[in-house]
C-alpha cells in the first residue's frame, strides 16, 4: 500500500509514478483508475479523517467526499508542483478540518476520542522510507521537544490555536508565537523555499 507499507526508495518512486499515472487517467474519466487510487490510499486517508473527526459516520462521509473531489479535480493535479500523496492528503484533511470547524458534529465521549487518537511508535516508523520523509522528521526532531509534539499533534488532529492553548495550559499568544517560530524553523531546515 502506497501510504502505509515500508518500501525501498525505488518502490516508493514506482508507487508515486503509478499514482500520478492513475490521476491522469481519472482526469479522462477512467473509473478503474479511481478505484486503483482508492485501493492504494483509502485506508490511510480514512485513518487521517478519523483522527480529525472521531465520529465514524462523519469520517466516512468526508472520505467519500474526498474521493469524489479526486474524481472531479484530478485534472488539476500537477505532478511538477507536488507529490500525489500530498495532494490526496490535503483534499482529505481540508474537508475533515472544515467539517470539524462546522461545529455541527456530535460530541463523542472522551474515552473514544483518546482511543482513536493513540499513535503507536511502530506506525510512526513504518512509512519513513524516502528522503523527504526522513528530512522532515529530522527537522521536526530539531525543534524544541514540546513544539515538535505540538506541530505533530495539530497536523494530525486539526486542533485550533485556542484548543492547543487550553490543552497545554499556556496562553494563546505564547502558543501562536511558538508554532509560528517552529514553522519558520521547519521551512529553513527543509531549505526548499
Amino acid at each position: 500500500m502506497v501510504l502505509s507499507d515500508t518500501k525501498t526508495a525505488d518502490e516508493s518512486v514506482a508507487a508515486r509514478n503509478e499514482l500520478v499515472a492513475a490521476l491522469m487517467r481519472i482526469a479522462d474519466g477512467d473509473r478503474a483508475a479511481l478505484q486503483f487510487v482508492y485501493q492504494r490510499t483509502a485506508a490511510k486517508l480514512f485513518g487521517v479523517c478519523l483522527r480529525i473527526l472521531p465520529d465514524k459516520i462523519e469520517a466516512e462521509d468526508v472520505v467519500q467526499e474526498a474521493y469524489v473531489t479526486v474524481w472531479r479535480r484530478a485534472g488539476t493535479f500537477d505532478p511538477d508542483r507536488g507529490s500525489p500523496i500530498a495532494w490526496l492528503a490535503a483534499i482529505a484533511r481540508n474537508k475533515a478540518i472544515d467539517r470539524l470547524r462546522g461545529g455541527t458534529r456530535r460530541m463523542k465521549p472522551l474515552e473514544d476520542a483518546v482511543d482513536i487518537a493513540d499513535v503507536t511508535p511502530s506506525a510512526l516508523s513504518a512509512v519513513i522510507t524516502n528522503e523527504t520523509h526522513r528530512r522532515l522528521m529530522e527537522c521536526i526532531d530539531g525543534l524544541d521537544a514540546r513544539d515538535a509534539s505540538a506541530i505533530r499533534e495539530t497536523f494530525l488532529d486539526g486542533a485550533t490555536y485556542e484548543k492547543l492553548a487550553s490543552r497545554l495550559s499556556i496562553p494563546l499568544g505564547t502558543i501562536k508565537s511558538r508554532i509560528r517560530r517552529s514553522l519558520t524553523q521547519l521551512r529553513e531546515c527543509l531549505g526548499d523555499a
Binding site: 469524489v68 474524481w71 472531479r72 507529490s83 500530498a86 478540518i97 523555499a193
Partner: protein, 230 residues
Amino acid sequence: MRDDQAGDRKDDTRAAEYVLGVLSAAERREVQRQLATDSALRAEVERWEDRLAPLISEVSAVEPPMHIWRGIEERISAAGKPKLRRSRWESLAFWRSMTFGAAALAAASLAALVYVSTSVQPLRPMVANVAGVQSSFVAAIDPASRSLTIIPSAVTSYEQHSLQLWLIASGGKPQSLGLIESAKPVRVMLPAQVVLSTDATLAVSLEPPGGSPTGQPTGPVIASGKITNL
C-alpha cells in the same frame, strides 16, 4: 522572521498555519477566499502541503467499510465525468483566443467557482461541458448568485446566425437563457422560473439573427451537455 520581508513572510506563515490546521473556521474561510485569486499564496500552500504530508505516516491506516467505495461510485455516477483540466483552463492559446476583457470575466468567474468549491457551501457550483461535433463550450453556474458563464472553447464561426442558449430540465421544454457569443464568454442571470438541477441539459442552437422568433429552438442544435456538480 525579518521585518523587511514582512509581506511574504506573513503570507507564508498564513499558508503554513492553514496547512497545519490551526486556524479557526473564519480564518480558514478567509484563506480559502484568498486562494481563489492569489496564485502566490496557492503556491505557498502547495509547498507546505508537500512539506508536511509525510506526517500522515504517523496515523494508523484504518480499512474503510465496504459501503464507502459503493457510496463513492454512486456519487460519481451522479457527478458525471471529470470536467476541469488544468491544461485546458491554463492554456495560453485558449486565453489568447479571447479578448482581454472576456478572459478577465471568465477568470473572475472561475476564481469565484474555485472559491465556492473549496469552502463549505450549501449551494454547490455546477458545470457543463456543452459539446457538439464542431463546436464546444464550457459553462459554469453559481447557484448562489444564479449566474451562468458560458465560455466558447472551440467554436466554428456561424455568420448570419445567432447562437442561443437553452436550458432543458429533465422531461421539460427548452427555456431560453438568451443569446451567446462564439468568440467570447457571456454571463447570463438565470430567470426566476428556471429550476437548477443536475439532470438538466444545456444546449446551443443556431437561430436567425436576434434569436428564435418562437421562444423555442428553431435551428439545429450545435452543442449540448448535462449539468453536473463541480
